[in-house]
């Protein structure tokens, strides 16, 4: 378990007396086995915060407690031993360019007391685990980004850590490679019982592997909790903005603004976004029921509905056509079933 208590990290601005608070009074608890996401725009303090966990950057004040041990009170030597049990991977992989893949993974094993043969065996086992064992003897410069990150993960796992810190680990990768690395991290979390802390600026990363999330802004945690709860019921504007980035439904606002053909309404039509927020029963065909019962047509323009944690979540953009009263009734019906109906454009004749 990682407990961060009232972490403050200040940087002195050279030439001036004042200090900048990169991290300002952050408290977080990461339970064993969590994949804990920390999301924020660049400059939000998330990378600084994650470096407080292994004390690569020592907090100005506050407490870092890992499995009950106060990290800040450790001697230099004890801290180095403790760091061996906290793996870390980076945005730019940070592999040693003059060493082969095998030598890179063996790097943290020097001084571990293992013989040369044991080290070789262990390295090969790690490389198999991350599915890159066929590249053992090549140099990092010959690898693709995704392959480099796999090697970096193997290296981070060399000393059998129980924590893995990922600092923007997928930010330099293309979407497909990002997914494969994320799936690897998720698998390691399950197979090895690794506790993972993921730093990212992409909500998609949080959505695909994290079970908990903290949203950071200006050095503070704006909001934190279970990923599903945050997605379904975001409280802070920044969280809402991040969630918007994961859905292409927000495009509808642009269309309306530009008066695009697709959203031009005829008289009596209503353009609306249906926000699926955990309907109590996903098996009820809400749209077709509404359509039949109230004699309105619901024309689905586009939709982005996903299943997170076995619950459906997302948005559908529709145009409702029908008699004024019927359209209103249909909207009420949908709202009764826990759909939030956001009317974007209304071409009904005002009574």
């Amino acid at each position: 378990m990682i407990e961060l208590v009232n972490i403050v990290k200040e940087f002195k601005v050279t030439g001036r007396g004042e200090a900048v608070h990169a991290v300002n009074d952050v408290s977080l608890t990461v339970e064993d086995g969590d994949i804990f996401g920390i999301i924020g725009f660049s400059g939000a303090g998330k990378s600084t915060l994650v470096r407080c966990i292994n004390l690569l950057g020592r907090p100005s004040s506050g407490k870092v407690i890992i499995d009950g041990r106060d990290m800040m009170s450790l001697s230099d030597k004890e801290l180095r031993e403790a760091r061996k049990k906290i793996g870390m991977i980076f945005q730019h992989f940070n592999l040693m360019p003059s060493r082969t893949v095998e030598e890179n993974v063996a790097f943290p094993l020097k001084g571990s007391g293992l013989t040369k043969d044991q080290i070789h065996e262990k390295v090969m086992k790690l490389l198999k685990l991350v599915e890159i064992d066929e590249k053992a003897s090549v140099y990092p410069s010959q690898l693709s980004g995704g392959q480099k990150q796999r090697v970096a993960i193997a290296r981070a796992l060399a000393n059998d850590p129980n924590i893995l810190l990922c600092d923007e680990a997928t930010s330099a990768l293309d979407p497909q490679t990002t997914q494969s690395i994320l799936q690897l991290i998720k698998r390691l979390n399950k197979e090895l019982g690794l506790t993972v802390v993921v730093i990212t600026h992409e909500m998609a990363v949080i959505k695909s592997i994290c079970n908990k999330v903290a949203v950071m802004e200006n050095g503070r945690v704006a909001e934190s909790g279970d990923v599903f709860a945050i997605f379904t019921d975001p409280q802070q504007q920044i969280t809402k903005n991040f969630i918007r980035t994961t859905s292409n439904v927000s495009k509808v606002y642009e269309f309306v603004e530009n008066d695009a053909e697709v959203v031009r309404l005829k008289e009596g039509e209503v353009l609306a976004i249906l926000h699926y927020r955990q309907p109590e029963d996903v098996s009820v065909p809400l749209i077709s029921t509404a359509s039949r019962r109230y004699e309105v047509n619901l024309n689905i323009l586009f939709a982005d509905v996903e299943i997170i944690d076995n619950k459906s979540i997302g948005d559908t953009v529709v145009i409702l056509q029908g008699e004024n009263d019927n359209v209103s009734e249909a909207i009420k019906y949908l709202e009764r079933h826990n759909l939030r109906v956001e009317v974007v454009k209304d071409a009904r004749i005002s009574v």
């Binding site: 292994n54 690569l56 230099d76 180095r80 031993e81 403790a82 760091r83 061996k84 906290i86 793996g87 870390m88 980076f90 730019h92 940070n94 592999l95 040693m96 360019p97 003059s98 790097f107 943290p108 020097k110 140099y139 990092p140 410069s141 290296r155 981070a156 060399a158 000393n159 810190l165």
Partner: protein
């Protein structure tokens, strides 16, 4: 005042030594290969001096270069790790060392040669000949090499240092296993540049009677108008520089992946 007079005295002594040395060498009767006799008559008749000059240059290059390499590498690392934001940040040591390096970098070598004579006498027992040239050569060469090492180490991505620290490496581990190991190629290039500039300095060391190829070319080629000696010396130096450059480039390439 005392020191000033003393310095002039030693400089004069050095000049006298150089003359004596030259006369002594002129008596050297070893002759070179026959084919040189016709094409390069002066080189032929001073073949013994020529060999000796090459030997002196080599001795100065290797001794001064070797010592500078060791000191420069250590101090280059010290400057890198103790600079603000470095892994062993130490402002006073960094500032002091940085200023000292700048100081010696800014003194022209020919002044350094005479100014360091007392120190040379203290360490080497003499301020003239090849032995007397080693100390000023080291002082002239090391600060340059320190800066070269600093530049080489600065090319190491700080991410690598961070990664090593996150794996539980001690500062010494980071220095040896990351800074030095990962910059072998850069340091090889830095050493090449320094070795070649040192070769230039050894030519000036003739001013304290150190001999060597530069001195040989001036004494015979220039002073006695024996142009074939000047050209032969130049060719030998070109070959020497090419060898050093090729060797350095090869080591650098072998260590860059």
């Amino acid at each position: 005042m005392q020191g000033y007079l003393f310095n002039i005295g030693t400089a004069a002594g050095a000049a006298a030594g150089r003359l004596g040395h030259g006369i002594l060498l002129a008596k050297n009767t070893v002759t070179g290969p026959a084919f040189i006799e016709t094409s390069l008559p002066n080189v032929y008749s001073h073949w013994g001096d020529f060999l000796e000059a090459m030997r002196d240059t080599l001795i100065m290059e290797l001794w001064a270069g070797g010592i500078s390499f060791c000191i420069g590498l250590v101090l280059g690392v010290v400057l890198t790790v103790m600079r603000p934001g470095g892994i062993l940040e130490n402002k006073p040591v960094y500032q002091a060392l940085d200023k000292i390096v700048n100081l010696f970098r800014s003194i022209p070598f020919i002044i350094l040669l005479t100014a360091l004579m007392p120190l040379s006498r203290l360490i080497m027992g003499t301020a003239i000949y090849v032995r007397g040239a080693i100390v000023p050569l080291v002082f002239g060469c090391t600060p340059f090499f320190i800066r070269q090492v600093e530049a080489a180490l600065a090319q190491i991505d700080y991410g690598l240092i961070e990664a090593a620290l996150s794996m539980g490496c001690s500062p010494l581990d980071v220095i040896v296993r990351v800074y030095l190991k990962e910059s072998v190629g850069h340091i090889a290039r830095a050493t090449t540049i320094t070795a070649i500039s040192l070769l230039g300095l050894t030519a000036m060391a003739g001013a304290v009677g150190a001999g060597g190829l530069g001195d040989f070319a001036i004494r015979y080629g220039h002073d006695r108008n024996m142009t074939d000696i000047t050209w032969t010396t130049v060719i030998v130096l070109v070959i020497a520089v090419s060898i050093v450059q090729t060797l350095g480039g090869w080591i650098a390439k072998k260590n860059t992946h």
